[in-house]
């Protein structure tokens, strides 16, 4: 026997206390309604940060700021345990070992708790989304441990199994009269994995939202509500009530709305072939024309068409005809000039019998729209079922034919409680949404999930790090992060050696404590030719990227705690990095505060990205000020790099001030003239001075700020330039200095030994005058 609450509570599945006005409810017990916990809960994925709240800094008044201490005035994960019985609303939604890996863009979770209300399945299901494509849908059966605690094992996984290595789920519900105060704390444990706890906020008493549109052919009066006792043959357990199609689906877990655009469809529409009856294509056409929400896409909406007759004839009472085109299951039809309108002989209330069969047919066809199969076709060779299902000819379900039930319609309706079976409710409420959502999975594919497609062990690990002992950055510092992609599998992997070098395949996000996550969009798109290589087990490739700014400006600005996380698109999978936690310190002095207003601009982001400019004069002037006045600030290193790079070579400028732009076809156009392309001569001494300050004056510090990989690239560029201007000796000396520095870092395992061989190779090339030598 399935557990079944008072039917009078059915309609309380409506959201946030809305009242279903189509049902007379003489008595609605208040307390159980308010005390329900079933429904959908979501996690907002805010990250726990252990520092005190950040105080906005007034500009330009310099205020000495103490360094944030680890626990001063803040709340941390351990405090969560003291928050019983209810977590606070504002900031903490995640605890445990996974606490730092949750940037909303990369990780969101939804759970559906199904332990009370109508026909509770004692189940919790969830969906974990991480990265751009990683998804896991899971389900666990629950056993009640106390009034508000349940536990159970995960028995279903569909998607990236590694997202949930734990095997046991423990749910603690925090009840409240007010829906917005309801919470769940879900603890995932077992399976040899670390225990993870996550808090969820109440979202809805339902599991899905759906909109029905009931359109009808001219002359048809749709039956969408019946009186359950209108016919004397009914189960004693069914209360007398007006029951609507919407209510049936509300009880099944859907927040149902009716379309405001319901239409009458002219009968002439079916006359295309001279036959007044409808064929499937005609109904599909009618759906496209008359359904106010029709779209060639999956959506939580269904078109229900009440028509006269299908071309199949009197023996077809209804059909989910929509297995045409790319989006199946969007439309169903019910035919009133069919057997469902036949008055049964000898029936004590034939009119009620007809109304009941019309009602049953409408709910039945709508069930097909949600990918439910007939009761006797659950275990069918033609279409995979989401879980092993069993056929049941005697199912008391909307998906069984009453006239196919053992003994026929009489015994069926004597016991039928106007519901779906538990395995059907499990599917409707807890299957992966794409299997259920109309227009998504093809009809009968994964009717009722296919077998779990769990991913094998991860092949790669993406690690983000700063090249310093503590992840502390100075105010104004462009944060340059080292990206390391490691083959963590036991076999060699083929990969593009340059896949980390550009942001083509990387999605990078930053998030400041208490703020929303922001994606760092690249300022330039490049499409380098892939250089495929075999990455041996344990071997890594590296790159560095500025994560403070991008196309939309600066993402790391004010003091505070930040998280940086990245996702690498490898085509067949996404590799999500560790979340890199870092702290930006407050301004050191008034000058930094003042210059900040000029630095945190999009133009400055461009200049820093492209290594300087002779066109964007304002940010370059700011960089000169930084190089001159803020010598101790890391930004001064970047400023000197930009100033040095600009001065290294002759610089071409397109000057169109004296040209009528509309006449220009190209820079070689005579209308433009050669005078429009101006060349600014290199300034070798200025370049040497700035590059020395940036790279060699304190190379260890430069390595910390730029990261080893980036410093190596900058030194190579500078060495090649020195060789090109005839200073081979200086070029080799620069490589020597780099080699000595990086040799010390091999001991700390931040540099690989092969790097020294690359430096030796470069030195040999420079000595031999091969200035175009490149690193391996």
């Amino acid at each position: 026997m399935h557990e079944r609450d008072d039917m009078n509570l059915d309609e309380t599945m409506m959201d946030e206390g809305a009242i279903d006005l189509d049902l007379p409810q003489p008595y609605r017990p208040l307390w159980p309604w308010n005390n329900r916990v079933s429904g959908t809960y979501t996690s907002q994925s805010t990250i726990i940060l252990r520092n005190p709240p950040v105080v906005p800094q007034p500009i330009p008044i310099p205020i000495p700021q103490p360094r944030p201490s680890a626990r001063q005035g803040g709340r941390d994960a351990t405090m969560m345990d003291d928050l019983d019985p209810m977590p606070l609303d504002d900031d903490i939604v995640d605890t445990g070992v996974d606490e730092l890996s949750l940037i909303p863009l990369f990780s969101s979770e939804t759970v559906r708790l199904d332990v009370d209300g109508t026909d509770p399945q004692q189940v919790i299901s969830g969906e974990i989304r991480r990265g751009l494509r990683q998804r896991l849908h899971w389900i666990a059966n629950l056993r009640r441990r106390s009034t508000s605690t349940w536990t159970g094992r995960v028995w279903y996984r569909n998607g990236t199994g590694s997202l949930l290595p734990q095997t046991t789920v423990t749910v603690r519900a925090y009840r409240s009269f007010f829906p917005h105060q309801r919470r769940l704390r879900v603890t995932f444990s077992g399976g040899g994995a670390l225990t993870r706890t996550r808090d969820f906020r109440f979202h809805s008493s339902y599991f899905h939202d759906v909109e029905f549109e009931f359109d009808h052919e001219d002359g048809i009066a749709p039956v969408t509500t019946i009186q359950t006792h209108a016919h004397p043959n009914h189960p004693a357990t069914v209360p007398s009530q007006n029951l609507s199609i919407e209510t049936v689906y509300r009880r099944s877990g859907f927040r149902v709305t009716r379309s405001a655009g319901e239409n009458a469809v002219p009968s002439s529409l079916s006359l295309g072939n001279g036959d007044p009856r409808w064929d499937d294509n005609e109904m599909h056409d009618a759906m496209q024309t008359y359904w106010s929400r029709f779209a060639n896409t999956a959506q939580w909406a269904l078109w229900v068409f009440f028509a006269k007759q299908h071309i199949q004839g009197h023996s077809l009472g209804g059909i989910m005809y929509d297995d045409i085109g790319p989006n199946h299951r969007q439309g169903t039809a019910i035919f009133y000039d069919s057997f469902i309108s036949d008055l049964p002989a000898g029936d004590p209330n034939p009119a009620a019998s007809v109304a009941r069969l019309k009602f049953w047919t409408a709910v039945h066809e709508t069930g097909h729209g949600f990918n439910l199969a007939h009761s006797w076709q659950k275990d069918h060779p033609f279409g995979p079922s989401w879980i092993p299902l069993t056929n049941d000819d005697a199912a008391l379900s909307f998906m069984n034919y009453p006239f196919r039930y053992p003994g026929g319609e009489g015994p069926f309706f004597a016991n039928f409680e106007y519901r779906f079976t538990n395995q059907e409710l499990l599917f409707l409420r807890h299957a992966p949404e794409r299997f259920v959502e109309p227009g998504n999975a093809d009809w009968f594919q994964n009717h009722g999930f296919d077998n779990a497609a769990t991913e094998a062990a991860p092949r790669f690990r993406l690690h983000l790090r700063l090249n310093r002992d503590t992840n502390v950055c100075q105010f104004l510092e462009p944060v340059r992060v080292e990206f390391k992609l490691e083959n963590v599998s036991s076999t060699a992997q083929t990969i593009d050696a340059g896949i980390l070098d550009t942001k083509e395949h990387l999605t990078i996000c930053t998030m400041r404590q208490g703020d929303r996550a922001r994606q760092v969009y690249p300022l330039a798109q490049v499409c380098p030719r892939p250089r495929m290589m075999l990455l041996e087990p344990g071997q890594s490739i590296y790159a560095t990227h500025d994560v403070s700014f991008g196309r939309d400006g600066w993402t790391i600005t004010d003091q505070g705690r930040y998280v940086v996380q990245a996702c690498l698109d490898l085509g067949d999978l996404d590799v999500v990095s560790n979340p890199l936690m870092l702290t930006v310190l407050p301004a050191n002095n008034r000058e930094e505060m003042v210059l900040a207003q000029d630095i945190f601009s999009t133009d400055m982001a461009r200049v820093l990205t492209f290594g300087g400019s002779r066109v964007l004069e304002a940010p370059m002037d700011t960089l000169r000020q930084v190089a001159d006045q803020l010598r101790g600030n890391p930004l001064a290193l970047h400023a000197n790099l930009c100033l040095g790079r600009i001065a290294m070579r002759n610089y071409k400028l397109l000057d169109l001030k004296d040209t009528t732009h509309t006449d220009i076809k190209s820079v070689t156009d005579r209308a433009v003239g050669k005078k429009s392309v101006k060349v600014v001569d290199a300034d070798i001494e200025a370049a040497r001075k700035h590059l020395d300050l940036a790279l060699t004056a304190d190379m260890a510090r430069s390595a910390d700020l730029l990261a080893n990989v980036s410093l190596h690239e900058e030194i190579d560029r500078t060495s090649i330039w020195l060789a090109e201007i005839g200073d081979n000796k200086g070029a080799v000396a620069l490589q020597d200095q780099l080699g000595k520095l990086l040799k010390t870092r091999i001991e700390t395992k931040t540099v690989q030994t092969r790097v020294l061989a690359e430096i030796d190779g470069m030195k040999d090339a420079l000595k031999g005058g091969k200035t175009r030598a490149a690193r391996n």
Partner: protein, 103 residues
């Protein structure tokens, strides 16, 4: 000549594109090259043949599954036969004096 009645035959569950033929008293009365069940209405094909009142031998044949189902039927009025093709390749039939209904 005796009274003629209609024999309605429906192919229901289990057909996935097989060639099917129907035989009445040794004569082929219907055939299709590809019967495929529309699962949402549990129907692959339907046909009607006129049959004289009285006893007859009716057969459904699915050659590629080596399946033959023979029925001795006694026609006294309109008659319906539903045929399922099981997963084991065997044919099974249900008979009724009223039409089969689908939804």
């Amino acid at each position: 000549m005796g009274t003629t009645n209609q024999l309605h035959v429906e192919l229901h569950d289990g057909f996935s594109g097989e060639a099917v033929s129907a035989w009445l008293d040794g004569n082929e009365v219907w055939q299709t090259t590809g019967a495929r069940t529309r699962l949402q209405i549990d129907l692959a094909a339907a046909f009607t043949v006129a049959v004289d009142q009285g006893r007859h031998r009716f057969e459904i044949r699915v050659p590629e599954r080596d399946a033959i189902l023979g029925l001795d039927i006694d026609i006294a009025g309109p008659w319906w036969i539903a045929v399922d093709l099981g997963r084991d390749g065997k044919l099974a039939a249900r008979q009724s004096a009223t039409a089969f209904r689908h939804a």
